[in-house]
Point group: C2
Chain length 93, copies 2
Amino acid sequence: MARVVVDVMLKPEILDPQGQAVQRALPRLGFQGISDVRQGKRFELEVDGPVDAAALARIHELAETFLANTVIEDFVVKVEEGQETRKAEEAAK
Amino acid sequence: MARVVVDVMLKPEILDPQGQAVQRALPRLGFQGISDVRQGKRFELEVDGPVDAAALARIHELAETFLANTVIEDFVVKVEEGQETRKAEEAAK
């Protein structure tokens, strides 16, 4: 079973009030040197079977029609190795 | 200027109703073969100056105290090359 990640972010030209709120709060909280923050969504899809070109094409279509609003959002589809992902998550604990 | 990405996901043992709603909707919409969906947040931070070990340590602290609720969420801090990111975004358009 493979994991496919879809990252959905507001397009650069779209105002991101959520990200701005985070960015403005940082100096108050003692974190300097962050000039911009954008906040988006991350979807982790567990795909049954192999992630071949056909599966990726379907996931791309899914992301385009259902996960992202392509009028205001960009999305990126990435395949992640299950093993790597778990290691990264372990490291963050 | 470098971009640092913080991915915040609910811990695996925490129920994710948002992800479940997406997963249950997929067969209705004609997408089979996705056995699980988890939805999380992605923060893109633009960092002034070099992203060295000290800067990463600060961003790790920032993510831990402010971006993620570590009782229920895991987070991963990743450095992204500006160039690569732009290319990936271009590809998604």
